[in-house]
Amino acid sequence: MFAWIFFRADSITEAINIIVKVFTSSGFPFYETLSGLLFSVFGIMMLITVDLKREFFNDSFSILYNKYQFIRIAGIVIIVLTILLIGVFDGGQFIYFQF
């Protein structure tokens, strides 16, 4: 987990400062904005849903491989619109950008 701090920080000094603050700073857990928090919750819920579906209901239902063309197309349209609506399009937000 701590490796990600070194991965994202601008310098070793900054990474060490962050780790020190993790253990020394007090207060309410940080979240930048309410919408950011809700988007994160949405993303995590999506991930858990897909995992649960694959684990327990893998053969029961599929959107992109459904036998009905209408459902397949609706699935593709919803995915494209979701990417346009909540996808990351700006380089600076991307964690690998600095490499």
Binding site: S35, I76, L85, I86
Partner: protein, 309 residues
């Protein structure tokens, strides 16, 4: 799909159908988002819309969160006897200020425009370009905004072929801005957002400014603000408002100061003003004054503006 068509023709037809449906849904969703976006009557999006489209205040404040938390319109109105609107916006840079400045000065000429600068005002930072996305909903509605948002990159104009893209990441804010409870809770005082926390009495630290290069677009933004204000007879003032950090590196602010000196523009550096640096009670955190500090700072600044006239 006729069964006598070959596989490539069938695939192409299906692809065209999907593209058409995506296009249609994108238009419908985009129109809906636009209606609800511009129906907001509170919150950060509303403040940006009001700054761009509606304000006709005689005193305009521009800047980042330090502007929105530091400059109290009530105090300016009392001391300078003119209407005031605080158009500061969290996390933004001089590029955003320039866009709002151009949109405002295209409509009318305020008496004063006060621009709050930060220690990083002129440095190149990709995140500052990313943050121009807060102006995306105005891209197709306002030519001056479009010209600045296009600075984000050469592909930006293609992204706006989608009607949904301008509202990327804004769905929750739009929903909240349309809730009646949120509207009542967030009726800001002419753009000013007071902070009420009091910073703890920790030892003051020295602010380190990362060694990034100068951004020519930001330099150009400042020069354009100066020349526009000169043409339209607007009193432009740059202010470096108080911080609870020792500022040892003044590279960027010195450049702003030099440009101001060359052009006869007023520049007030109150970043390490003794009244504030010795009193942590005036701060909410190292970079932001709380309401008490903001009112004292605005009163002091108003007096300095009056005396310098």
């Amino acid at each position: 799909m006729g069964s006598n068509l070959g596989p490539i023709a069938r695939f192409s037809l299906k692809l065209l159908l999907i593209v058409f449906i995506v296009f249609l849904c994108d238009r419908i969703a985009g129109e809906l988002l636009q209606v609800f976006y511009f129906r907001q009557e509170a919150g950060v999006n509303y403040r940006t819309t009001y700054s761009i489209d509606s304000t006709n205040a005689e005193i305009i404040i521009l800047g980042s969160s330090r502007a929105s938390h530091h400059y109290v319109p009530d105090v300016f109105e009392e001391k300078l006897h003119g209407t005031c609107y605080n158009a500061g916006c969290d996390g933004t840079s001089i590029l955003y200020d320039h866009a709002v400045f151009k949109a405002i000065t295209k409509r009318y000429s305020p008496e004063y425009i006060i621009v709050d600068i930060t220690p990083h005002s002129l440095e190149y930072n990709l995140a500052d370009y990313d943050r121009l996305s807060v102006l995306s909903p105005y891209y197709s509605k306002n030519d001056v905004i479009k010209s600045i948002v296009d600075l984000k990159g050469p592909f930006e104009k293609f992204k706006y072929l989608s009607a949904v893209y301008p509202f990327n990441s804004l769905v929750i804010q739009i929903a909240m801005g349309n809730f009646e409870v949120y509207k009542q809770r967030n009726q800001g005082s002419r753009g000013y957002i007071p902070l009420y926390d009091v910073k703890g009495p920790e030892e003051i630290d020295t602010l380190r400014v990362a060694a990034r290069g100068l951004d020519s677009n930001k330099m150009e933004a400042i020069r354009d603000m100066i020349s526009t204000c000169r043409q339209k007879n607007i009193c432009l003032i740059f202010v470096y408002s108080p911080m609870y950090h020792i500022i040892s590196d003044r590279y960027h602010s010195d450049i702003v100061y030099n440009i101001c000196s060359e052009n006869g523009i007023r520049y007030f550096d109150m970043s390490n003003s003794p009244e504030f640096i010795k009193n942590h009670d005036y701060f909410s955190d190292g970079s932001h004054l709380n309401d008490e500090g903001a009112r004292i700072f605005t009163a002091m600044l108003s007096e300095m503006i009056r005396q310098s006239e």
